[in-house]
Symmetry: C2
Subunit: 204 residues, 2 copies
C-alpha cells in the first residue's frame, strides 16, 4: 500500500483545509495516510522570521484571511478567526502541546480523530488550542483519557520524536505547511493535495 | 462585459503558467482580460527581501523548480531554466524593459501577444529577456517594429505608467504574482486562476 505523509502544523490555517479534505480523499483511494505533526516555528526562524509569514507581511496576512473565507465557504466548513480572550488577534496559536498530543495519538491509533477535532475547534470555533483545558476537552470528546495523555506528552521520547520529525521535515525540503510527501517527492500547499494523491497512485 | 485584471511580473515562473492558460480560459468565457505588467521588486523590497523569495529561501526555491517541472509537464508546455551565458543561475531576470514594452503594447493593442511570446522565450527556451536584443527579436516575431517600440519605452509617460500600476497593485493588496483582481477582489497565484474566473462570472 502506498503511503502519503501529511505534514502539518496545528497553527496553520491551510492545514485545516487539508485535514478536513483528507479523510474523503483517502476513502476513495488505496493510499495510506501518515499524519505527521511538526513545528513550523524553527523553520520560519531559519528563514529569518520571528512569527508566521502572514504576520510578518500584512498584505499577505490580510489576503490569507480573505482566501480562507472563500475556501471554507467552498468546502462548506465553518471558519472563525482565532482571538484572545480580550478580543485581540490570536494567530498563530502555539501548537507545541497539540503536536505532542498528536504524536501520542499516532502511537495509540487516534491521531487522525484528534487532529481533525483540533483543527475544527481552532479554526471552526476559534478555540485556543494552546490551552491544556481546551486540549483535554477535545480528548474527552473523542473518547480519550486527558490526564493520562497529557502526562505522556511530557515523556522524553515524545518530545524527542517531535524534534526528530521537524528535523526530518527540513531534510525533506519542507519550508511550509501543509506539505505532502510520497517518498522524497514533495508537494506544498493545500492546493497540491490532489496532485500528491495522483503522484502516490503512480509511485513505485 | 466583466473585467479580470491579470497582474504579472515577467520574472515570475508562475506567471508563465497563467499567461499560457489565460487565452484558452478567456476564449471560453465572456470575461475581458486586462494584462497588467508590474514590478515585484519594490514590493519584495518592502518585505525586506533583496531578491525573489525563491532566492532568499533555498528550500522554497528548490521546490519551486520541481513544482514548475511537474506543472509545465501537466500543461504540456516547455520549461527551461534561465541561465547566464557562463552557465550560472539567471533567475530572476530583470523585467523592467519587458514591462515597459508591454505597456507600449497595451496602448497599441499587442500586449497579449508580446507577453505570451516573452514568457515562452524566457521559461520555455531560457532566453535572457532583460536583453534589448532578445526583446527586439520577440517584437519582430510578432510583427512589431522594435526600434520604434524601444524608443517609446523611454518616454516619461510609459515609465510613469509602470510606477503608477505598481503602486496601484500595492493599494489592491497585491504582494506577489500572478495576481488576479475583479474590482477589489484579489486572487493570488496560478492556482487561483479558475477561482478568479468563476468570481468574475458572478461579480456585479
Amino acid at each position: 500500500m502506498k503511503t502519503l505523509c501529511f505534514w502539518y502544523d496545528f497553527a496553520s490555517t491551510y492545514c485545516y483545509l487539508s485535514a478536513m479534505r483528507l479523510q474523503k480523499l483517502a476513502a476513495s483511494s488505496a493510499i495510506k495516510i501518515e499524519w505527521k505533526p511538526f513545528l513550523l516555528g524553527p523553520i520560519f526562524q531559519a528563514q529569518g522570521l520571528s512569527s508566521s509569514p502572514f504576520n510578518a507581511h500584512a498584505a499577505k496576512g490580510a489576503y490569507m484571511v480573505r482566501d480562507m473565507q472563500r475556501l471554507t465557504a467552498e468546502q462548506s466548513i465553518p471558519f472563525k478567526w482565532p482571538e484572545m480572550s480580550d478580543g485581540s488577534d490570536g494567530f498563530p496559536r502555539n501548537s507545541l502541546l497539540a503536536s505532542r498530543v498528536a504524536l501520542v495519538g499516532a502511537e495509540l491509533g487516534w491521531v487522525e480523530a484528534f487532529t481533525c477535532a483540533v483543527f475544527r475547534a481552532e479554526f471552526g470555533e476559534g478555540a485556543d488550542i494552546s490551552n491544556a483545558d481546551t486540549i483535554s476537552e477535545i480528548l474527552v470528546k473523542i473518547g480519550i483519557d486527558p490526564l493520562e495523555t497529557l502526562k505522556l506528552t511530557q515523556s522524553p521520547s515524545i518530545k524527542q520524536k517531535l524534534r526528530e520529525d521537524t528535523e526530518r521535515a527540513v531534510l525533506l525540503g519542507i519550508f511550509g505547511a501543509p506539505s505532502f510527501t510520497i517518498g522524497e517527492e514533495l508537494f506544498w500547499g493545500n492546493d497540491r493535495l490532489e496532485s500528491a494523491f495522483a503522484w502516490a497512485q503512480i509511485a513505485e
